[in-house]
């Protein structure tokens, strides 16, 4: 038995084997019976135990299908939300077309994730699982007029798109996703489409429902009604301050649905990769508005925090999120 050859052979099919061992090196310390000296006779057992630990599902780490099903739930939320667009009053034709385009994308994402998961996919929760008024099934929550009033509708749309962007971003570095390059790339290829949607919905909110050229409308601080196409600070609580604040706030950094070495901070974070970004970080930043340093980076959220946000729009008794 050659420990090195085993590692080398595994590396050929799993290039991350050393990282797995590295990030879980505590298994060496916590393995019982190896406190002092590893004898030659004990090595096979020890090696076997190490690999069992390394390749077993990490406590708190989601398996790739769990992450994909979580994404599928969010896509269902979005798909059923955009299906409710048809009674909106006063939309320009360009805005109506844009919402149809987004609705198509979300339906395609549902289809794609279902196909990818195959028999592991969750059951379709159906539209009955959601109450987009925020009324938990009463259909009379704080967003009661969302089906007809484009101001309410677009406020919700921005909230869902920004949440979706944060959710995919937060889940991508989960080890089971990173280990599957096909899934990782597909998830990122959905993530950027959600970000495009978020940007456009924000332009629509600047321009208003009847605008024929929403991209030509000015962003006006504090952005709750005329936001920039990107998140500035914590966006003053988002589209409906008081209700949507969590969408721009900090996440939970432990437990299920978090990634190793990732900290889920609020959108006003200006420390990236250990580098604090201010006007004095680089001579080229001189004179930059301080908001630019938070706008230049989106932040991710953990699965648990996203689920808490999504639960605002499911009916009482739903166990979807």
């Amino acid at each position: 038995m050659n420990f090195l050859q085993i590692l080398s052979a595994i590396e050929k099919v799993d290039p991350e084997v050393y990282d797995r061992l590295d990030s879980r090196r505590s298994v060496f310390k916590h393995m019982s019976g190896v406190g002092q000296k590893l004898t030659a006779a004990a090595l096979p057992l020890f090696v076997g135990a190490v690999f069992n630990k390394v390749y077993a599902q990490t406590p708190g780490g989601l398996a790739v299908n769990d992450v994909l099903n979580f994404a599928l739930k969010l896509e269902y939320l979005e798909m059923y939300f955009y299906q409710q667009r048809t009674a909106l009053v006063g939309l320009s034709s360009v805005n109506s077309t844009a919402l149809s385009l987004i609705a198509t994308d979300e339906a395609n994402h549902v289809k794609f994730l279902r196909n990818t998961l195959g028999s592991a996919a969750i059951n379709d929760p159906t539209a009955a699982a959601f109450d987009f008024t925020g009324g938990k099934g009463s259909n009379a929550g704080p967003f009661a007029d969302y089906r007809t009033n484009p101001v309410t509708y677009l406020a919700l749309a921005q909230s869902f798109e920004d949440t979706g962007v944060r959710a995919y971003k937060g889940a991508a570095p989960i080890s089971s996703v990173m280990a599957n390059k096909t899934v990782l790339t597909a998830a990122l290829n959905i993530h950027s489409v959600e970000a495009r949607h978020a940007s456009h919905i924000r332009a629509m909110r600047r321009g208003g429902a009847s605008s024929a050229n929403p991209s030509q409308a000015a962003a006006v601080s504090p952005y709750s009604t005329a936001p920039k196409s990107w998140i500035s600070g914590t966006d003053n609580g988002g589209a409906v301050p008081g209700t949507t604040n969590a969408i721009y706030g900090a996440g939970n950094n432990s437990g299920a649905g978090t990634a190793t070495n990732v900290t889920y901070l609020a959108e006003d974070n200006n420390v990236q990769g250990g580098v604090t970004l201010t006007t004095s970080t680089s001579a080229a930043f001189s004179g930059f508005p301080t908001t630019a340093f938070t706008e230049a980076f989106d932040e991710g959220l953990d699965v648990g925090t996203v689920s808490t946000i999504a639960r605002l729009f499911t009916v009482t008794g739903s166990t979807l999120f």
């Binding site: 385009l101 990769g273 630019a292």
Partner: protein, 243 residues
């Protein structure tokens, strides 16, 4: 039983543990441990492409640092573009207040991305690539159409590039950073595309709308074929070490 482990001093738990901390120490572990066929191949793989610079090209390198330098190169291109936009005829005499507000923000964001990468690569103990020299077709900065269409090309390319290179990142914190930036590039791309043609924030040229509605990511070799047309001789990118 392992000849390698039993040929040296009796291995202790600390000995097994310590070489696994970093790639460098991992490599020395195998050198110390001796030359089995597998271990030798690993040592060679560890040295692979380290000195593989094509003449006159800028090699971004390999692995995580290679991806960071690749991103740094693309951010240099974007930052330089918006810097020049702000002194060009379109911005100074033609653009309206909204277009200027958007272009100002894009300029801030891309310059921040550029200098962030330089600082982060340095902080990671690696060497950033040099400052690149750009080239643009004549009158790129003169008209609304040429500025916005070039911006659209760069932003769409940036999104496709980050999405396509993420698979080469091994550290979760680096992947997370790339994710934080790519969604900003996508937000940029959407508003610039809307400025060009209202409602074109997604389009069949960049998103598979007829199929799964996934962004069409691009591998580094495809991205640099476009990016290099905006880079001068001596600044063109070699990404052969990625993937």
């Amino acid at each position: 039983m392992s000849q390698n482990l039993s040929s040296g001093p009796e291995p202790t738990v600390a000995d097994l543990d310590r070489p696994l901390y970093t790639p460098i120490k991992r490599r020395s572990f195998f050198m110390y441990a001796g030359a089995t066929a597998g271990a030798t191949a690993l040592v060679l793989a560890g040295c692979d492409k380290d000195d593989n610079n094509s003449p006159g090209m800028v090699n971004v390198g390999t692995s995580d640092v290679g991806v960071l330098n690749y991103a740094y190169a693309l951010e240099q291109l974007e930052a330089d573009f918006y810097t020049q936009v702000r002194t060009g005829t379109y911005y100074t005499t033609i653009a309206n207040a909204v277009e200027k507000q958007i272009l100002d923000d894009l300029y801030y964001h891309e310059v921040i991305h550029r200098d962030f990468f330089k600082a982060a690569i340095t902080a990671a103990g690696a060497t950033p690539i040099k400052a690149l020299t750009t080239v643009y077709p004549a009158n790129t900065f003169s008209t609304k159409a040429s500025v916005l269409n070039t911006a659209k090309a760069f932003e769409d390319l940036g999104v496709a590039a980050y999405n396509g290179a993420a698979q080469y990142i091994t550290k979760p914190d680096y992947l997370y950073l790339a994710g934080k930036i790519v969604s900003i590039e996508a937000r940029h791309a959407a508003i610039i595309r809307d400025l060009v043609t209202e409602g074109s924030f997604v389009g069949s040229d960049i998103v598979d709308i007829a199929g799964n509605s996934l962004e069409m990511s691009k591998l580094p070799s495809v991205v640099v074929a476009t990016a290099n047309t905006f880079l001068a001789d001596g600044s063109k990118l070699d990404v052969s070490g990625l993937g």
